[in-house]
């Protein structure tokens, strides 16, 4: 029997003739009905272009140069455009990464779904609307009838992605292509959406092509896996076999680059980055970054070989050394200093909400509410939470980039007031999330690094150049980097520049706001290692703001979990992550997709979304989503419950268990 989808030696190019860039080069795979095939790869590997090639929806300039795509018996690439339209949405449907952008902002959700029903199921009028409501019900959108009348911006991210799924299902496709369907979502929401996808696939016996960069998502959802690198498929196999023993050096290194719980060792990094498509290359595309590469790898492109049921394209596949154990570098334990470097008490950041004729302040968005933190020198405190919980606002308020509404900030024992902000700026600096918007494209790297020293008058002017070269060396950049502009650097290198900029004024505390979330796994590992090294050598303290629990586990000594502007649980990293007490932390920890296929690992499903900080629920902010909520939770915000060893939580249920 023919598989549902079979792709054979697909080649996609951008541009024509001799200058054409080959973005997809001879990719072949199949997807059977009812199974999920995952295409795994970093950004720039060509996985999304593969999906768009199947749909024949390539951006302008792209075209399929060779190969064949069959959906059942149908030769997709041979179809005239007219017939292709019935395949799109009908034969195979697609959902995209960013549901806010992928839905038409000015058309009602219902209309957008009905459009598909009219086109592919020949429904019309009330029948179509009924069907649309049914679809929304099936993807778990509460109050579906009312939601049909909503516009996309009125829905939360999770609901939008469900609408997107409902829309894709409306044409009863045989194949569903999901392009990074949960990358833009928070972990707890991601778990909900992946659940829906899994259930629907089983119910409707669809084939699913899941495109993702997240090994965890693959591990929990895929039946078979294909790894893409630089436009080629390099390894393919059943999920369990692949996760048990990845064969390609690239796949292996991806695993090793991933920070994992309970493992303080150094991360393996893949040197360099995914090559651009304009770099034509003979031989294996991974060879320049491969530690095992031999001469043959650079001249001859490897063919497929089969090893224990897995297919891999590597000359050395059979002869690779056994997977290396991680090098365990014991963390230099910083001396136990009792006095904290940073002490924050009762920090509040409220933004007024103005309404009505006179623009009266009718309320406040309590972005940060009564947050207290302390960090000791040489230690890392991770501030964890989902988007919108106020964690970034905390970071910016600490540096007084946003003026706090209330609360005290003390640095090195000295309270920061309006007149000694300069002291704060010398001692605390920030590294931002997006390495592209955090560096001024119009300034040379040297000027970027010197800016802080000049502004704060660090060191003598003539020594600053010397200091700059020193900094570049410290963060692992070439010394001539100073003369170049940021656009000459990749994302990872830019993040190094941003770190060097923060270090230029020799701060004692660095606030890292999601510094690796815009980076690929292999690059993330480089940055995490660098941060760790710098902490060891310079005795820096970090406030590490992130949503990524795996990174927290790797880097942090202490963890504070934020929900809706407040810290709900805090303690040593091992305690909080291994034995979370607050129901929210428990859900958060359990929702992270894991690579290890553990038995008995159940995900705690959180219903609904994080409410708006404008109108937080009365009582415990978390109670509407909490399975343990009781009457007390609806009445009062819980007090701190001490759990020993500096571990505490704010939860009536936890308090009840103790007493």
């Amino acid at each position: 029997m023919k598989p549902l989808l079979s792709v054979d030696r697909l080649v996609t190019e951008f541009g024509r003739g001799a200058d054409a860039l080959r973005v997809i080069d001879g990719v072949s795979f199949y997807v059977a009905a009812g199974e999920t095939y995952a295409l795994l790869g970093e950004s720039g590997s060509g996985k999304s272009i593969t999906a768009l090639s199947l749909m024949r929806l390539l951006p302008d300039g792209g075209h399929i140069a060779a190969g064949s795509v069959h959906l059942g018996e149908q030769d997709v690439l041979a179809l005239p455009e007219r017939d292709m339209r019935s395949v799109r949405g009908g034969g195979m449907a697609m959902i995209f990464q960013e549901p806010m952008l992928a839905l038409n902002p000015v058309v009602k959700v219902g209309t957008q779904i009905v459009e598909v029903l009219v086109l592919h199921q020949r429904l019309a009028g009330p029948a179509a609307w009924d069907a649309a409501r049914g679809l929304l019900d099936s993807v778990g959108v509460p109050d579906a009838a009312r939601r049909l009348e909503s516009y996309p911006f009125e829905l939360s991210g999770g609901l939008r992605q469900r609408v997107m799924i409902a829309m894709a299902l409306a044409g009863r496709p045989k194949l569903l292509i999901a392009d990074e369907p949960t990358t833009a979502l928070d972990v707890t929401i991601q778990a909900q959406v992946l659940d829906v996808l899994r259930r629907l696939r089983t119910e409707q016996q669809m084939g699913m092509l899941l495109i993702t960069h997240d090994l965890g998502v693959v591990a929990e959802n895929a039946d078979r896996v294909g790894v893409m690198y630089a436009g080629e498929l390099v390894e393919e196999g059943a999920r369990d076999a692949f996760f048990a023993a990845p064969q390609h050096p690239y796949s292996r290194m991806l695993f090793e680059a991933l920070p994992r719980p309970g493992d303080g060792g150094r991360l393996t990094t893949i040197p360099g980055q995914v090559p651009g498509f304009d770099q034509t290359q003979r031989g294996c595309r991974f060879a320049p970054r491969c530690p095992f590469a031999i001469a043959r790898c650079r001249t001859e492109s490897p063919d497929w070989q089969t090893l224990d049921g897995q297919r891999v394209r590597c000359h050395l596949a059979a002869g690779l050394p056994a997977r290396s154990e991680r090098e365990m570098t014991a963390h230099a334990k910083s001396g136990e200093i009792t006095q904290p470097l940073l002490q924050v008490d009762g920090l509040k950041v409220h933004f007024p909400v103005r309404r009505g004729f006179f623009q009266r302040t009718v309320g406040h968005v309590r972005a940060v509410d009564e947050v207290s933190l302390s960090i000791r020198a040489g230690r890392t405190l991770a501030l964890v939470g989902e988007s919108g919980c106020g964690k970034t606002t905390v970071g910016k308020a600490l540096l007084r980039l946003i003026e706090p509404t209330a609360g005290t900030i003390a640095l090195g024992g000295e309270t920061i007031l309006a007149d000694n902000v300069a002291m704060l700026r010398r001692q605390a600096q920030m590294v931002f999330q997006d390495p592209f918007s955090s560096l001024n494209p119009r300034m040379r790297v040297a000027d970027i690094l010197l800016e802080g020293m000049d502004a704060l008058g660090v060191g003598a002017a003539r020594d600053r150049r010397e200091a700059m070269t020193q900094l570049l060396r410290q963060v692992g950049l070439p010394e001539d980097a100073g003369g170049r502009y940021p656009h000459a650097f990749s994302g990872g290198q830019r993040q190094r520049i941003a770190i060097a900029r923060a270090l230029a004024v020799s701060p004692r505390l660095v606030i890292c706001d999601e510094p690796t979330s815009a980076l690929d796994v292999s690059v993330q590992a480089q940055i995490l290692n660098l941060l760790k090294d710098l902490q060891d050598s310079l005795g820096l303290a970090y406030l590490f703001i992130t949503h990524n629990l795996a990174v927290v586990d790797y880097l942090a000594h202490d963890v504070a979990v934020m929900y809706l502007g407040r810290i709900v649980e805090q303690g040593a990293a091992a305690d909080v992550l291994r034995a979370p007490r607050h129901p929210y932390t428990q859900a958060l920890v359990s929702a992270v997709p894991r690579i290890e296929t553990q038995t008995g690992h159940t995900i705690i499903r959180l219903p609904g979304d994080q409410p708006s900080p404008l109108n937080p629920p009365v009582g415990c902010h978390f109670h509407p989503r909490c399975t343990h909520a009781s009457e007390a939770c609806r009445l009062a915000y819980p007090e701190q419950t001490d759990l020993g060893n500096g571990h505490w939580a704010r939860c009536h249920w936890v308090a009840g268990q103790l007493s």
Binding site: D60, G61, K396, L399, L401, V421, A422, R425, Q429, M430, F432, Q433, D434, S437, S438, L439, N440, P441, R442, M443, D447, E451, G452, A455, L456, Y485, H487, A498, R501, V505
Partner: protein, 468 residues
Amino acid sequence: MSVMPVILWTDALIFALLASVLVLVWLIRRQEHLRAPWRAVAQRPMAMGAALVLSVFVVTGLLDSLHYREKLPDSPADRPHYSVEVLSVFDKLVGDLRTRQEKTYSAPLAMQLYAKEFVQRDGVTVREYPRLKFGGAHLQTEAERIPDIARRSLTGLVQGLAVSLLLFGLLAAWQAHRSHMSSGQWLVAWRAGRLDWPARTVVLIVSVLLMLGGMLLNLAAAYHVFGTDKVGQDVLYISLKSIRTGLVIGTLTTLVTLPLAIGFGIAAGYFRGWVDDVIQYVYTVLNSIPGVLLIAAAVLIVQVYIESNPDLFDTAAARADIRLLALCLIMGVTSWTGLARLLRGESLKLRTLDYVEAARAFGVSHARIIGRHIFPNLFHLVLIAIVLDFSGLVLAEAVLSYVGVGVDPSMHSWGNMINGSRLELAREPVVWWQLGAAFAFMFTLVLAANLFADGVRDAFDPRQGGRR
């Protein structure tokens, strides 16, 4: 010394502008991120062709901005008197084109006036087309005219072609030498368009310009190429003189606009709060007044001022010049709002970017943040606005002159040409050449400017150009 240099206000400003452009070019050459988009502009055939045409206009305008007054021939040497007529280097270069004045209208390349007149001939009064004093004066009969024109045109074409071939040969030799090729190889590369600059277009446009120039030179020596106007002045001369007016309006107005737009726009977007409120209030007020009316009101005021202070301006040229300058000022003051609004919006976005936050985290001063982080990142918008506004301003001059609030009626400008001749279309035979020449010159300048502006915009802001 037989001449007295005269520096009119607009002359001074034009040369100040030229100097600042040169300084800017020098600065841009040193900055990679500024140089790269210009290189992209230079690689677009359409933009380069337009730039060549523009440069012809600019050179004419600059030559026409070097003013002087001639010494009167019979004035004493120790206390020389100078003519009240202000001339320019351009006038000197075109020679008698300025002085060959006919009686009234004559058609392009004609040898007779456009209408019959009663003439005394051999004591008899006859009604006929009188011969022109200068146009085609060397001809005996009408039958010789067409062959003569053809011969002169052909000569001009051949001369132009010869010069272009010579230049092309030199270019080929120089370029081949520079890139270590044989001239033959370079020619092959040139033909196939494989050079890193649009050499084919440049060569083509230069040749066409040279050939046109050759034809004009040959014809203008003996004819009025675009005819003559009501008072018998050569229309070609007037059209060429109008170039300076168009350029002055197109450039000096932006010069007035820029500081206002940049200052207010960035301040409003960066500081927000009450600064923003005040600036927005000011520009809404200015914007809400219909532009023509505000200009009209202001021009009337300037006129009153000039008329009540006649002693401040010693020549008619100076008077006309101050009105031109005033017009630029007024148009500048009324037109900064658009750019300011754009810059405000952009500054609002930029101020929230991480690199600005990073600078604030170092306690960098506002002035420095604006100077190093905000302004350089919206400079391209300013540049695009300059080139885009230019053509609009040139076109606006014509309309304002028609309304009667444009440049001084005594000043040569396309607007005045159109205004002075639009009623002549009702005449029989139709007097079309003055209108035609004005529209043709204006169209060429504006089209070249627009095409160039397109190139600049695409190179500096690919998103806005809507190109993929």
